[in-house]
Symmetry: C2
Subunit: 258 residues, 2 copies
């Protein structure tokens, strides 16, 4: 069955999209059939893979029950990797979805046919920087959450909030299977004490739940999206590609209870 993971953190600019796209590309490279769902109206994951943001191409209509989500699946140009792109109008969906019945389960419902078809080994969902209706739908629709965390003070402060929300979603019954897959430290700058302090603090609190792999701050990850390529294609031997491949290996080595 498909392993589904949301990339979520309400703090902005922590590397959610970069991690979603890089992880998806690394999983695909290892022959794992992967679907990336861009749930952010900013549509950064869509442009990071070189796709246009086509009006009507996103999950929007399927959230309202007006279309089949499978019809929005597009090829990425990379073997084993497909994407459901986003569009700016998806921002309006929050208001429309809020007025529907079961408004937190719309994505889970829309994804059911895709899950049943069992075409993919992994589904990754890139969430916007908020805990609004789109992100809540994302968290209610997956098995696991991967929390990218920038090695900065503000990001550290926000961690307690996202952890509390995960617990609430699980305990309220909105998604009883939801678990934290792990926290991945991003934009680590070895030249500063701040980065190391934040990593130490997070490992101190969350121990095993923090991936061993730390993603370094490297301009190559900032450059890749401007060429519409994941890091594995943009600069396959870069520190960044090596780090994300190591993260992928760690992810695959973790037990996945059925």
């Amino acid at each position: 069955s498909t392993r589904s993971i949301a990339l979520a953190n309400q703090k902005g600019g922590v590397g959610k999209t970069t991690t979603a796209v890089s992880l998806a590309a690394c999983l695909a490279e290892r022959g794992k059939r992967t679907l990336l769902l861009d749930l952010d109206p900013q549509a950064n994951a869509t442009s990071a893979l070189g796709l246009e943001k086509l009006s009507g191409g996103s999950v929007y209509k399927a959230l309202l029950g007006g279309a089949r989500l499978a019809d929005s699946i597009r090829p990425s140009g990379y073997d084993n990797l497909e994407i459901i792109p986003s569009e700016v109008d998806l921002a309006v969906a929050e208001v429309d979805v809020a007025r529907t019945e079961n408004y937190l389960q719309r994505l889970r419902l829309a994804l059911m046919p895709i899950h049943d078809a069992n075409q993919y080994e992994f589904l990754l969902v890139d969430c916007p920087p908020s805990l609004g209706i789109l992100t809540m739908n994302g968290l209610a629709a997956v098995d696991r959450v991967l929390v990218p965390l920038q090695c900065e003070y503000f990001a550290l402060e926000g961690l307690a909030v996202i952890m509390r929300v995960l617990k609430q979603i699980k305990e309220s019954g909105a998604n009883p299977v939801l678990d934290l897959e792990g926290i991945v430290m991003t934009m680590f700058d070895g030249r500063t004490n701040l980065s190391q302090q934040v990593v130490n603090e997070v490992r101190g609190h969350f121990g095993e739940k923090v991936f061993q792999t730390v993603i370094p701050r490297t301009v190559r990850l900032g450059e890749a999206p401007s060429f519409g390529k994941p890091i594995t294609a943009y600069d396959t031997h870069s520190q960044a590609a090596v780090a994300y491949r190591a993260l992928t290996a760690e992810l695959l080595a973790q037990p996945w209870p059925s």
Copy 2:
């Protein structure tokens, strides 16, 4: 009368809070009585000035008409600078506010008594990383918008969206006086081509609307919030403090039509 400016950009992590807090501190240092309003449920501006996030201390109740906003004003510990702090529960306000009449004008209404009292020369509003109801209230309640823009590709992509939204708010009558105060380039890393390319592209499109001052990427801005101090107090001779003082001088030199 009070000059009001929102710090807004739906892209996450571009330096909205850092710019709001640094600008507020620099204006206060120059003797301008300044009020900083933290409109983000993350409450980063609140903790950046060393304040607690007290439940009930935010703009939340005043948005629903249940309290006077002036009662939420707190001292910052710095001369000429006061703050309306935020709280995590402010995230819930979006849903409640959406159900009120005139839901886009709630902040403007709540701020009227403060404007009429004319106690402050500047009001700065720090917005969350989204174009949801809180940010829309922020944009409807001020005269000007200052858009911090990280020197990165994804941030560049999002610029067209925020510009379109500003135009819509002005032309729809939600806020007929709203204008762009300017775009400030942040986290500029002189060692990379990417930063320079993004700055060139933005200056090419927006010309005069881009502040001359460019804020460099410097770890001191990441460290300051962990001490609950603005950069002017944390490291007054730093490159960052010098840059934000230069930005403040530019802002004060710009004509402010009455």
